[in-house]
């Protein structure tokens, strides 16, 4: 029973990270109907930037609380700006010229961008810095210093909810709440929803659709940048190929929640996190991918509108 409870906690905290990445997929898909394959790799690049900054600032597990309290938010801001900006630039240079083209074109381009990012991650891992394990292979997994305290909040209980877990959950929830308020309360958010519903009608109402799409990429990227720092701090290992797998899990989460549906993506992320933790515990970690992708296929076949969504059925 205790193992089960522990796996639930682990799954929910992991699920937060998936949810943050899934939001980027779902927002872009909601507007462009484009599966942004490069999103997972953008997340990976941002985590490499975070690790680079950690190395430059010389932070490690022994750093004082005060310096961490200043440095970590700073790293988050830089990574958020980097990932958001990069996603915006990619949209501007790669996807925007293809707006009128058949749907295959931007999808294939996204796969291309994904591979370019993955390759850049490989090169990045070869930087001559201590945090990148100078001397070890560029392709090797990189250790991310364990900066957040692992103190158990439940005292001596063998069930563990650590300060680290709490920081991850609370900060993710705050970011998601901010996003939700932005989309429902601001003018740009309203424009986003309008564009997602019907781009042509939105354009006729005087909305600058290209600007809205740019803003969507910016925000999706920013969320990935935030998720990247959180992931590094929580999982403590990053790898240049992790974007692909985490991206697919997050995409599964987005599909699970009904793609294009923002609260759905968050719920989907939590469900994927839980399923992953439980399948690792009770089925075996080596079957993780088979279980999750099996679920993905089953959802797409039986409930393509997602578990929680009831979006209008696509015509033809």
């Amino acid at each position: 029973m205790e193992t089960f409870a522990q796996q639930i906690i682990l799954g929910l905290v992991n699920g937060m990270v998936f949810a943050l990445i899934a939001l980027g997929y779902t927002m872009v898909y909601g507007i462009l109907e484009l599966i942004n394959f490069a999103h997972g790799d953008l997340f990976m690049l941002a985590s490499f930037l975070a690790l680079t900054l950690v190395g430059m600032l010389g932070l490690d597990a022994a750093s004082s609380g005060a310096s961490l309290a200043i440095a970590i938010p700073g790293i988050i801001v830089i990574c958020v700006v980097f990932a958001g900006g990069l996603n915006w630039v990619v949209d501007r240079l790669v996807y925007r010229p293809l707006r009128g083209a058949p749907k295959l074109a931007p999808l294939v381009s996204a796969i291309g961008v994904s591979f370019m990012f993955m390759n850049l991650g490989l090169f990045w891992g070869g930087l001559p810095m201590d945090v990148f394990g100078h001397g070890t292979a560029a392709a090797a997994p990189k250790g991310f210093p364990d900066l957040l305290p692992g103190t158990n909040l439940l005292g001596d209980s063998s069930l563990r909810i650590t300060v680290k877990d709490l920081v991850v959950v609370l900060s993710s929830l705050a970011v998601m709440l901010g996003l939700f308020l932005f989309v429902t309360r601001t003018r740009l958010g309203k424009a986003m929803r309008a564009t997602a519903q019907n781009p042509t009608a939105a354009r006729l109402m005087g909305i600058d659709v290209d600007r809205v799409i740019g803003a969507t990429f910016l925000m999706g990227g920013a969320l990935a940048g935030f998720a990247a720092v959180i992931y590094g701090l929580y999982i403590n290992t990053i790898h240049f190929q992790m974007g692909y797998q985490n991206g697919l899990y997050a995409f599964t989460a987005a599909v699970l929640g009904g793609i294009g549906n923002i609260p759905g993506a968050v719920l989907g992320g939590l469900v994927i996190g839980l399923l992953r933790a439980l399948s690792d515990q009770y089925v075996g970690a080596q079957w993780q991918q088979a279980v999750l992708f099996g679920i993905l296929i089953a959802i797409l076949v039986f409930r393509p509108q997602g578990l929680f969504g009831s979006t209008a059925r696509e015509k033809v």
């Binding site: 993955m118 090169f123 599909v255």
Partner: protein, 376 residues
Amino acid sequence: MAGQKKGAAAGSGRRRPAWLRLEVVIVPLLLLYPFFPVLDQLVQAVFDTSLRLDRQLVNIFIFAILALALNLQVGYAGLLQLGIAAFFAIGAFSTGILTVGKYPFQIGFWGALVAAPALAGTAGLALGAPTIRLRGDYLAIVTLGFGEVTRVVLLNLENITDGSRGLNPLPSPWLPDWLTSAAAGDATGRMHFLAMYYVALLLLAGLVIVFRTLERTRQGREFVALREDELATACMGINPARTKLIAFAAGAAIAGLAGALYATNLTTTAEPNTYDFTYSIMVLCCVIIGGLGSLRGVLLGAAVLLTFDNVLSPLLTNLIQRHLAGGGSGHVLTSFTNWRWLIFGLALVLMMRLRPEGLWPSSRVKAELHHKQEEP
């Protein structure tokens, strides 16, 4: 409309004199190449390597068969398939299980050449039947997921597939006695190579002829009509789901055939991680770079990609590292192989932007793409 279609089917190459047509030159050259490997000696002398171009040609043939399979699904029928490696792997592993000495089946290479496509085609049918009705990008994700599930299952069913070691050794093709004795004295490696070379080349040529014919038959036109406009096709009384399923299963079967050849050529099924998502994407790359729905284009794409990967990139790595004399030999940037995803990715992006119809397009796809771009 009718006139445009006729023009597309005829193609521009047909007005050239017969002796100038490409296949008339290339096919005899390829048939004779194993006995006069001139380029091999040249490359080995110039670059000072042991690289064998004739061995790479076998890989190109097999890869081209795989690319033709994907072209049937993506290029003709417009089904975005991101897990072709799964069917390739199913072909390879069923060949392994059916021929390797560990199991009682041992049906030999020719038996496997029939059984592997049948099994892969069945798998395609089983996956396609419930999922083929899904919208384009959902189908892409289903096939991607299937690819990963297949790889993980093959990796984890260790007592059947030997896990990460892969099944081996696979038997060589059995050939008639007069052929074997004609090359008597040669090492068995040479016999294996020659058998694989000609089997792969003939199968590839056969498939090219089949596809060429298909383009002019009712079935082939149904595929293309489906790609161009599903609604209109359905209105003409064609069942879209059934037609898509035929394309999907047939493509899967041909990928299985390529898998059987691949495993036999290597004499091992290789580890399941070989058949991962990046492999599927590499096949997609060569279909797209060559030209979706264009036979010539896909063959060109397969040749270009494998030449880059297996010939150019090791040669360049060799050159770079020799000229950097010791100093940076271990660095990640100096191995040209490490640049391949950057280059493939860039190629995909640039192709989509500048020449979405591919290097050597089919005139119909070209017309379709440019027509659509003018629309909005």
